[in-house]
């Protein structure tokens, strides 16, 4: 069986950097997610996750380090986390927010309330 390829997408002004590493079992989103067509951007991420989750073992770490996201991205992010929720392996979500950024902290708390996965809210310095 061929090893699964990683999914790497460079960040743009409106889309986040994507680093989904199959062997490392880490999935990281960082930057901004404000594309006009979020469904189109997230489609390959969902496809990769579905494929990865079918055969993964052990524990996967999901790191969400978003500076901003628009409302259509928030729905797509929910779809992504729901897919991970159904993974054959265990998963932990690390949700990063800058100090004093209550909006992003609340967003993390909202996802944690809906998704049945361990969530760790990580406060970062705004200088990071």
């Amino acid at each position: 069986m061929n090893a699964m390829e990683d999914l790497i997408i460079a960040r743009t002004a409106k889309t986040p950097e994507v680093s989904f590493l199959a062997l490392d079992k880490t999935m990281t989103l960082s930057g901004r997610s404000i594309p006009e067509n979020s469904i189109q951007f997230f489609e390959p991420l969902l496809a990769w996750t579905e494929s990865f989750c079918k055969s993964c073992e052990g524990q996967v770490e999901v790191h969400v380090k978003l500076e901003y996201f628009n409302t259509s991205s928030s729905k797509c992010l929910m779809d992504l986390l729901k897919k991970i929720e159904q993974c054959s392996c265990a998963a932990v979500v690390y949700w990063y927010y800058e100090e004093e950024d209550e909006d992003m902290q609340e967003a993390g708390e909202d996802y944690a309330a809906i998704i049945q996965l361990p969530f760790k809210l990580v406060e970062t310095s705004s200088e990071d």
């Binding site: 404000i34 259509s72 928030s74 929910m78 950024d101 909202d110 996802y111 809906i114």
Partner: protein, 144 residues
């Protein structure tokens, strides 16, 4: 759209507001602009920073009667709840709301109310037999 967002960012940088406030204002700007680009056939966007410490984003776009009726339904739903119950409503939509053809499950207006602390103003102005201008104005306090 990228250029407009860069202008908004520069204006916020110049205003020297706290980073969380800047992020909140920018989020509002993104939603107003994307609302315009998704729903409008013709339109304009403007923004201003006022002396009272608020930033205003306005969009104007032409809508037909059908779009006006859809907007009225969405506005009525978005304005139904008091501000303090918005988070719960957003949670429900996020968890269970079916995606609209615009991709956001109707979360945009709720988010605008939240990020502006309920300073969202809308108006329909007749412009021809078939069309009216939909004016959306959002004010974000820049001081805490």
């Amino acid at each position: 759209m990228d250029t407009i967002l860069r202008w908004v960012e520069h204006a916020l940088d110049d205003a020297e507001v706290a980073k969380p406030t800047k992020k909140r204002a920018f989020r509002c700007a993104v939603e107003v602009i994307q609302n315009l680009s998704k729903h409008g056939r013709r339109g304009s966007f403007s923004f201003a920073i006022h002396g009272d410490g608020s930033m205003q984003f306005s969009s104007v776009n032409a809508v037909d009667d059908l779009q006006r009726d859809d907007l009225n339904v969405a506005l009525e739903e978005a304005n139904r709840l008091p501000l303090e119950e918005l988070r719960e409503q957003r949670l429900k939509k996020l968890a269970h709301g079916s995606r609209t053809d615009k991709g956001g499950a109707g979360l945009g207006l709720l988010d605008l109310r939240a990020c502006s602390e309920d300073r969202v103003y809308t108006e329909f102005i007749p412009c021809s037999n078939e069309l009216q201008w939909f004016v959306l104005t959002v004010e974000v306090p820049l001081t805490t």
